[in-house]
């Protein structure tokens, strides 16, 4: 899931203070799980902004809403018209959601971010989130016992550990497990330790984030959708 954290309230206030009609528009998927931007958090943020506006003597209407997902068009449709009646959408969805809605609204009204999108992570226990994948586009977890060296090793080493590994902890912080220590221990358990003797060549980062936005296109699904649309159009005639 995507993990994010609400921006400091003062930063949010400085973004929204000049608007008259604000919609705090939450997303009920990942950001609801990390208590940053679901329907509940949108309600709370709207209430806090109303109280702040009253305290500061600013005349402002702040409402809230939430839909199940901010990254697919269907979910937006029921509220599309209503959303356009606001001066500003404050979106505590992840960065994907903010981009997606801003593209959808195409400059009609601004969409501002309510959270800082942090990482792709897991929830090992309630209220605790850890980064587990960096979306590198070329997964090598089969070589590392299911432990990602790209994000879990502070140096993204492909052949570790480095000299800084210290009793299972990373030299960067004693709060951080050394990913390569974990990988070695995991590979021992899996009985595949000797696989680590194979030196991994320098990584090809061309699948990473530095070549513009990446895309995945499933042609068979797109062709099917196109056919369905054509059929519907001919039937409608």
């Amino acid at each position: 899931m995507i993990v994010g954290q609400q921006k400091p309230f003062d930063e949010i206030w400085s973004m929204v203070r000049d608007f008259k009609k604000v919609l705090v528009y939450g997303c009920n998927t990942c950001v609801a799980i990390c208590h940053a931007g679901g329907g509940k958090e949108a309600e709370i943020l709207a209430s806090m902004l109303r109280m702040k506006a009253a305290q500061e003597g600013v005349d402002m209407q702040v409402d809230s809403a939430a839909i199940e997902r901010h990254c697919e068009p269907e979910f937006f449709e029921p509220l599309d018209e209503k959303v356009r009646t606001y001066d500003l959408v404050l979106s505590p969805a992840c960065g994907v959601g903010v981009n997606f809605l801003a593209d959808r609204l195409a400059g009609a009204i601004p969409v501002y971010p309510g959270i800082n999108t942090s990482f792709y992570g897991g929830v090992p226990e309630a209220g605790f989130f850890v980064e587990l994948c960096g979306g590198c586009g070329n997964c090598i977890l089969h070589l590392t016992g299911g432990i990602c060296p790209i994000v879990r090793c502070s140096k993204s080493l492909m052949n570790g550990p480095c000299g800084g590994t210290n009793n299972g902890k990373c030299e960067v912080s004693d709060q951080t497990d050394c990913a390569w220590y974990l990988i070695v221990e995991r590979m021992k358990k899996l009985g595949t330790l000797e696989k680590l003797l194979e030196v991994q060549p320098p990584r090809d980062w061309s699948t990473g984030t530095h070549g513009g936005p990446r895309r995945v296109s499933l042609e068979h699904i797109r062709a099917y959708e196109e056919k369905e649309e054509k059929n519907a159009a001919t039937e409608g005639k």
Binding site: L23, K40, E43, I44, A46, S47, M48, R50, M51, A54, Q55, G57, V58, D59, Q61, V62, D63, S64, A65, A66, I67, E68, F75, P78, L79, K82
Partner: protein, 88 residues
């Protein structure tokens, strides 16, 4: 279906109190959210026993205080309640 939760009311800017010294006779407006099965039953029992409690406390009965969301507490403050008491 998704809907917009429109602010039920907007606190008129003119009614916002500025920080001030608290007068001696001032009483806070307190809202109590009480669970039907324990705290509310206790309040009921107090009534049966003819015990009194200050009139500046208003009670809202909930089927369970687990039902209480942050927004209920915040709305109370938005509407000028000075303190919220949750018992359950």
């Amino acid at each position: 279906m998704a809907d917009v939760a429109e602010a039920t009311e907007r606190t008129p800017v003119s009614t916002i109190e500025k920080p001030q010294d608290i007068p001696a006779e001032w009483q806070p407006n307190v809202l109590a959210f009480a669970c039907h099965y324990c705290a509310f039953a206790a309040a009921d029992l107090a009534g049966v026993m003819r015990l009194s409690y200050p009139p500046n406390v208003k009670i809202i009965r909930l089927p369970c205080t687990g039902k209480l969301d942050h927004i209920h507490v915040l709305r109370a403050f938005e509407r000028g309640i000075d303190g919220v008491f949750v018992a359950g």
